[in-house]
C-alpha cells in the first residue's frame, strides 16, 4: 500500500485514490488531426523510474492530482493539484 500526500487532505492510503494515467500527456484540441489523437490516446512510454501520473482523490477531496512517482521504488517525489488555477491558489497560501 503506497501513501500519497494529498495537498488538500494530507497523507492518505492509496486506496482512497484511483490511478488516472500518464500525467505528461497533453491532449490535442478537439479538432486536431487523427494522428495527434492516436498518439495521445494510445502511445505510452513504459517508464522505469520517475513518472508523472494523474491520480484522483476519489474517496477524499475529489481533486485530480499530478504525482511524480518512481515506478521502481514507489517513492513519491511531488504531488500538486492538476488544475493549474487551483495549484496556483495553493501555492499562494503556503
Amino acid at each position: 500500500m503506497i501513501r500519497i500526500p494529498c495537498p488538500y487532505c494530507g497523507e492518505r492510503d492509496h486506496s482512497e485514490f484511483t490511478y488516472g494515467g500518464d500525467g505528461s500527456i497533453t491532449y490535442p484540441a478537439l479538432d486536431a488531426p487523427m494522428a495527434d489523437w492516436l498518439e495521445a490516446v494510445f502511445e505510452r512510454e513504459n517508464v522505469r523510474g520517475l513518472q508523472l501520473e494523474t491520480w484522483h482523490h476519489v474517496m477524499g477531496c475529489r481533486m485530480w492530482l499530478l504525482v511524480e512517482r518512481d515506478t521502481m521504488t514507489h517513492e513519491i517525489h511531488s504531488v500538486r493539484a492538476a488544475h493549474t488555477g487551483l495549484a496556483a491558489v495553493l501555492e499562494e497560501k503556503s
Binding site: I2, R3, G20, A32, W37, V41, A82
Partner: protein
C-alpha cells in the same frame, strides 16, 4: 525419548491445570503451556505423519518454524487444520487431533508408502504419469488428472472444515511513529529507547508472552519484568499474539492479531482475529533468528529437535524433554543448552563438529556433568518410532568417518542460526550471505527500516540489548528527536568461529536424510534435481517443492541451498536465495475477508423508497450495488405473469417505477453549456431553458461511454442523468476533463445522485396521474410539458419536484424527482392517482421488456466495445461541431458497415424461446465465434412471443431473408431466428408523443 514435567521451574502456572484432548484422549497441561509443551510433558512423541512417506513425526522446534508437530485444532465448523502445536496456546477444553494418518498418527496404514520411498523421489509423479503410455495414449492430460486425484488423497496434510466459518473477523487500522517487530532483548530495548524519546511506539510480538529469548533463559525473569514495566510507563503499545506478517510500501505493515484463538469460551462480541493495517514512520525489525538443523540419517525421527527448543521446553515450560541426551552442534549456542539440561538431571553428551575447542568455551561446561567430544557429529538416528540410539560420525580430514553408537533418547541439533530476514526481504532488501556467520543477513535498504538483535546476526543477549537501543535511537533521530547515538561495541558475531555444517554423511552409507521435513524433501532429492539439470535455486524449489510447505522454507531453505551449492561446486553466495514474500506465517482467509462476507460481501445501496417498494410487495433484485424492485407480484402470480401484466399495464394505462438509481449530476456555471457541447456527440449549445435532451458521450477512443438525458434548468444550471451502471465513472470523467484538460472552463460538477429520488410515470394515462398530483395541473399539460419538456413544480402535498417528459418505455412518460427524504410521500401521492386508473407498480423485469420491445440500449449493450453507429445511434453524431471522441470514432475500422450492429431478434417458430448470452450464427455454419450475440431477451406481450436484442455483423439489413441460428450448445438446443430492426415496437415513435 522420555519427557516429563519437572516439579519446579518454568513460567507455567502449576496451580492452574487445563484439561485438553489429544486424539480423543483427555490429558492435562498448565496455564502458560503451548499445545506442544503440554504434549511433551505427557511424553506424547508421535504427533504427525509426514506429507509423502507418512513417516512418524514429533516436535522439532518450539516456534513458527515447526515442521513435525502439525495438528488439527477444534471440531466441526471450527476445525482448523495444519496448526503448529508449538505456537498454539493451551486452553481448557482444547481439542487437538493428528492428521494425514489412518487410523491415527501412532499406527498409520499410509506408512506403507515409506517402503516405496525410492520410487517417490522428486519429480516422480510427473515422470511416471505425464506423457507416458499407457497413461496418456492420445488423452492429453486427462489420465494424469485422474491419477493425480488418487495421489493427492494419499499425500497431504489436514482437512479444512467444509462448513461456513461461524466466527467473526475484524479489520482495524492504526498509525504510529515507530513500529518494533519482536519483543525480545533487542525489540524491548528498541521500543523503550524510542518511547523515551517521546515517540508513539507499537511493539508487536507473535508469542502470547513478550520476552523472546529472555523467556528461554534459566533466570528469575526480573530483567524482563523490569523492562516490561518501563515500557508501560513509557506508553508503548504492546500487542502480543500479533504477527507482523508483511511489510509493504511507505511504512505500511500488515498485522494479524489472534484475539480468541487461546480462549476456551470467547464472548460472542469478540472477533476471532483482527487484521491490522498499521502505518509507521520508522520500522525496527527485531525478529530474531531461527536455529537450523543439520541433515543426517533419520534426522526427522520423533525425539530429534533443535537444541534451543529443548532449552525453551526446559526453562520456559518446565519440561525435561529427555533423560539421555546427545547434542550435535557446530557453534557455541548449544553449550548453555547442555549446561541447563545437565543441571536438571539429564545425562548430556555434547558433540562439537569443530576439532579445536577454545579453552574459554570448554570452560563454560565446568561444574556441569556435560561430556564433550570434539570433531564429532550426529550421523544416523536409530529407532523407528522414536530415538533409541545415535550413530555418530568423527571428523576425518575434510569429511567424516563412522564413529560409535550412543545410547540416547533425545538428539538435539544446532547447525547455526538463520536471522529472520523475511520482513526486510518483503521490502526488496535482498539477503546477503555471510560466510563468517554461515547465514543470510538482511540486505541494505534505503527505506526507514532498522534491523536489531539476532535478526541482524548479533548473537549474545547483551549485544542484542545494545543493538536494540541503537536502533531505537536511530529511529528517534530520523524523526527529528535528539537522542545520543549508540554505537555497537564489541563483536557482533560468534565469540568462537562457527564451522559450516549442513550435512553429515560417510562414504558408502545409505541414509534417509531430510532437508525439508514438511514436504519430505531429502538430501538425495536435491542432488537428483541437480543431476537432472536444475541448476538454480528457483528451479530446485519448483522441482522438489523445497520450501513450499506451510513453513515456507524456515526449516530447510538454507540447507537446500548449501547442498545445491556443493553439487554445483560453488559458494552459497553464488547460488543466491529465494525471495521471501508475505505472509511470514499463514493468515486465515477469514481475517483477510474481515466483515466483508455474506450479505456484507459488498456495499448495498437502497433507494429512499426502498421500504415503500417492499411494503407494496416488491420482490427485490441486485442491480450493481443497488437493490431495485424486480417485479410486484399479486397473490398467486409467478414472476412471468407479474412482469407481463406490468408491461401490458404500462402500454395500456400507466405504471410507476423507481428510477432513483440513475446517476444524477448538477452541471453548473457560466461555461456549462460549452462544456456539455464538448462532451456530448449531439448539439447542446442551443438547448432551451425548460428542455431536456437525450445525449451520448464517447470516450477519447471514440467508443460509447454512456447515455442519458440532461435538463436545462436555467442559463447556467443543468441536471444530468446517467445510467445506473456508469454513474460513478461519468462523474470522475467530468472532473478529469475540468481539472486536467479544460481548467479555463468555469463549470462546477456535483454528484446529486443521493439528493434526488426519482419515479418514472409511464403509459398513455401518465399525464392524468401527474395532473392529479401537482398543485397546478396546467404545468403538466401538453403545452406546458411537451415531449422533452422540463418543469419545476410543487406536488399537492407541498413537496417541490422536477418533472421531465422523457420516455424509456416508448410510451408517453415522465420522470418525477423530489428531494430524497420526500420519496415515500411522492410515491403515496402518485400511487393513489395511478391505482384508480388501473395502473401498476413495475420493476426491472417489466422495464427490460418495455425497453427491448422499443430497442433502447442499456449498460449491457454499451459495454465499451460499441461505437455510436453500432448502437444504432449514428444520427446523434454531429458533424457540425467538435466533441470528445469525434476524431478517433472515425478510424476506418470503426466506420466499417459490416461491424456488429444493434438488431432485434424474433424466433422463426414464434412458439420458441431462446436465451441471452448466446451466439448468433449462419444457419449452415453453426461454429466458432459466429456472426453476433444476444444481449437481452423477453417475452413480449405486444407481439405475443419471445423477442431479443443483440448485435450481428452488418446489422439487420445484411440479414434480411437469411437464415440465422441461435447457438446455445451448453444449455439447450439451437433455435432458428429472424433478424429484425431493433425498433420492434412503435418504430415511428408516435406513442411517446401521446
Amino acid at each position: 525419548m522420555t519427557a516429563r514435567r519437572l516439579d519446579k521451574g518454568g513460567r507455567i502456572d502449576r496451580s492452574h491445570s487445563l484439561k485438553f484432548s489429544w486424539d480423543g484422549r483427555k490429558i492435562r497441561g498448565h496455564a502458560g503451556d503451548t499445545l506442544a509443551s503440554a504434549l511433551l510433558a505427557n511424553n506424547e512423541q508421535i504427533l504427525g505423519r509426514s506429507f509423502k512417506y507418512h513417516r512418524p513425526r514429533g516436535i522439532m522446534s518450539a516456534g513458527v518454524e515447526e515442521s513435525g508437530a502439525i495438528v488439527t485444532v477444534g471440531e466441526g465448523a471450527r476445525r482448523d487444520a495444519n496448526v503448529k502445536a508449538t505456537t498454539q496456546e493451551l486452553f481448557d477444553g482444547l481439542v487437538a487431533t493428528g492428521q494425514n494418518a489412518w487410523p491415527n498418527v501412532r499406527h498409520d496404514a499410509g506408512a506403507v508408502s515409506n517402503l516405496f520411498s525410492r520410487f517417490l523421489v522428486a519429480g516422480f509423479y510427473y515422470k511416471t504419469f505425464m506423457g507416458l503410455p499407457p497413461f496418456e495414449w492420445g488423452e492429453g492430460t486427462g489420465w494424469w488428472m485422474r491419477y493425480e486425484k488418487i495421489i493427492r488423497r494419499a499425500a497431504g496434510m489436514g482437512t479444512a472444515s467444509r462448513e461456513p466459518d461461524p466466527d467473526n473477523y475484524e479489520h482495524a487500522h492504526a498509525f504510529c511513529d515507530v513500529l518494533v517487530v519482536g519483543a525480545g532483548p533487542a525489540g524491548l530495548n528498541a521500543a523503550l529507547t524510542a518511547a523515551r524519546a517521546g515517540l508513539d511506539v507499537v511493539l508487536v510480538e507473535q508469542d502470547f508472552e513478550a520476552g523472546g529469548d529472555y523467556l528461554n533463559q534459566a533466570s528469575d525473569g526480573s530483567r524482563l519484568s523490569e523492562l516490561l514495566s518501563d515500557l508501560e510507563t513509557a506508553g508503548v503499545r504492546l500487542m502480543t499474539r500479533t504477527t507482523a506478517f508483511g511489510l509493504y510500501d511507505h511504512g505500511t505493515a500488515g498485522l494479524l492479531e489472534r484475539v480468541t484463538n487461546h480462549l476456551a469460551n470467547p464472548s460472542q462480541h469478540m472477533p476471532r482475529q483482527r487484521f491490522w493495517t498499521l502505518r509507521a514512520k520508522q520500522t525496527i525489525l527485531a525478529t530474531g533468528a531461527l536455529e537450523r538443523h543439520v541433515v543426517f540419517g533419520n534426522n526427522d525421527r520423533p525425539g530429534v529437535m533443535t537444541a534451543a527448543a529443548a532449552r525453551t521446553y526446559l526453562n520456559r515450560f518446565g519440561v525435561l524433554p529427555g533423560e539421555k541426551i546427545v547434542i550435535s552442534t557446530n557453534n557455541d549456542s548449544a553449550y548453555i543448552v547442555a549446561v541447563d539440561l545437565a543441571g536438571s538431571g539429564a545425562a548430556v553428551h555434547l558433540l562439537d563438529a569443530r576439532s579445536d575447542i577454545h579453552a574459554d568455551l570448554a570452560a563454560t561446561l565446568k561444574g556441569s556433568d556435560v561430556h564433550l567430544t570434539s570433531g564429532a557429529a550426529a550421523l544416523n538416528v536409530r529407532g523407528n518410532k522414536g530415538v533409541s540410539g545415535l550413530e555418530t560420525a568423527l571428523s576425518s580430514g575434510m569429511g567424516w568417518r563412522q564413529g560409535g553408537i550412543e545410547d540416547c533418547d533425545l538428539v538435539l541439533v544446532s547447525g547455526g542460526w538463520s536471522p529472520v530476514v523475511n520482513l526486510a526481504s518483503h521490502r526488496g532488501a535482498k539477503p546477503v550471505w555471510d560466510g563468517n556467520n554461515c547465514c543470510f543477513l538482511p540486505g541494505q535498504t534505503s527505506e526507514p527500516v532498522h534491523m536489531a538483535g539476532a535478526a541482524a546476526g548479533i548473537w549474545q543477549t547483551t549485544a542484542c540489548e545494545v543493538s536494540g537501543k541503537a536502533a531505537g535511537a536511530a529511529a528517534a533521530n530520523a524523526l527529528g528527536k535528539s537522542v545520543a547515538t549508540i554505537s555497537m561495541s564489541g563483536s557482533a558475531g560468534w565469540a568462537h568461529p562457527i564451522s559450516a555444517l549442513y550435512e553429515v554423511t560417510v562414504p558408502g552409507k545409505k541414509l534417509k536424510s531430510f532437508v525439508d521435513p514438511q514436504h519430505d524433501v531429502t538430501a538425495d532429492d536435491v542432488r537428483l534435481a541437480h543431476r537432472e539439470g536444475m541448476v538454480s535455486v528457483e528451479h530446485l524449489k519448483r522441482y522438489t517443492t523445497l520450501g513450499m510447505a506451510t513453513d515456507q522454507g524456515k526449516m530447510g531453505n538454507v540447507i537446500g541451498m548449501a547442498l545445491m551449492a556443493d553439487a554445483l561446486g560453488k559458494d552459497i553466495s553464488e547460488v543466491g536465495t529465494t525471495t521471501f514474500r508475505p505472509p511470514y506465517t499463514p493468515v486465515s482467509l477469514g481475517a483477510l475477508t474481515g466483515r466483508n462476507s455474506g450479505e456484507h460481501f459488498r456495499a448495498l445501496r437502497r433507494t429512499p423508497m426502498d421500504r415503500w417498494n417492499r411494503d407494496h410487495e416488491a420482490t427485490m433484485t441486485d442491480a450493481g450495488l443497488w437493490h431495485r424492485p424486480w417485479y410486484f407480484a399479486r397473490p398467486g402470480e409467478t414472476i412471468k405473469e407479474a412482469y407481463i401484466r406490468e408491461t401490458t399495464t404500462v402500454r395500456n394505462s400507466v405504471g410507476l417505477c423507481d428510477v432513483t438509481s440513475l446517476g444524477k449530476i448538477a452541471v453548473q456555471g457560466p461555461d456549462a453549456t460549452e462544456f456539455l457541447n464538448r462532451i456530448y456527440t449531439n448539439p447542446f449549445a442551443k438547448l432551451a431553458i425548460g428542455k431536456a435532451r437525450y445525449g451520448i458521450m464517447l470516450r477519447d477512443d471514440g467508443m460509447v461511454m454512456d447515455d442519458g438525458t440532461t435538463w436545462r434548468l436555467s442559463e447556467t444550471n443543468y441536471f444530468m442523468t446517467t445510467t445506473t451502471a456508469h454513474a460513478a465513472k461519468v462523474m470522475v470523467w467530468l472532473e478529469e476533463l475540468l481539472h486536467l484538460r479544460w481548467p479555463d472552463l468555469k463549470v462546477h460538477v456535483t454528484s446529486v445522485s443521493e439528493q434526488w429520488a426519482g419515479c418514472a410515470v409511464a403509459g398513455p394515462k401518465s399525464r392524468d396521474v401527474l395532473a392529479a398530483c401537482v398543485e397546478d395541473a396546467d404545468l403538466v399539460s401538453n403545452d406546458s410539458l411537451p415531449f422533452m419538456g422540463v418543469v419545476e413544480a410543487r406536488l399537492k402535498n407541498g413537496v417541490p419536484c422536477r418533472i421531465a417528459r422523457i420516455s424509456f418505455s416508448g410510451e408517453m412518460a415522465s420522470e418525477v424527482y423530489v428531494p430524497s427524504d420526500y420519496a415515500p410521500a411522492m410515491m403515496d401521492l402518485l400511487w393513489k392517482a395511478a391505482e384508480v386508473l388501473d395502473g401498476c407498480l413495475y420493476g426491472m423485469e417489466a422495464l427490460g421488456a418495455l425497453r427491448i420491445e422499443k430497442g433502447h440500449v442499456t449498460g449491457v449493450e454499451l459495454d465499451g466495445r460499441v461505437t455510436i453507429e453500432d448502437a444504432g445511434l449514428g444520427k446523434m453524431a454531429s458533424n457540425k461541431k467538435d466533441y470528445i471522441g469525434n476524431v478517433l470514432r472515425q478510424r476506418p475500422d470503426m466506420m466499417r458497415e459490416d461491424r456488429a450492429r444493434l438488431v432485434g431478434i424474433f424466433p422463426k417458430d414464434r412458439s420458441q424461446t431462446f436465451n441471452a448470452g448466446t451466439i448468433l450464427c449462419k444457419s449452415d455454419e453453426v461454429s466458432g465465434h459466429g456472426e453476433g450475440w444476444i444481449t437481452g431477451v423477453t417475452y413480449s406481450p405486444t407481439f405475443g412471443h419471445w423477442i431479443g436484442i443483440g448485435f450481428i455483423n452488418g446489422g439487420h439489413n445484411a440479414w434480411q431473408d437469411k437464415s440465422v441460428t441461435v447457438a446455445d450448445p451448453v444449455r439447450r438446443e439451437n433455435v432458428d431466428v429472424e433478424i429484425v430492426s431493433p425498433h420492434m415496437y412503435d418504430p415511428d415513435g408516435g406513442r411517446h408523443l401521446g
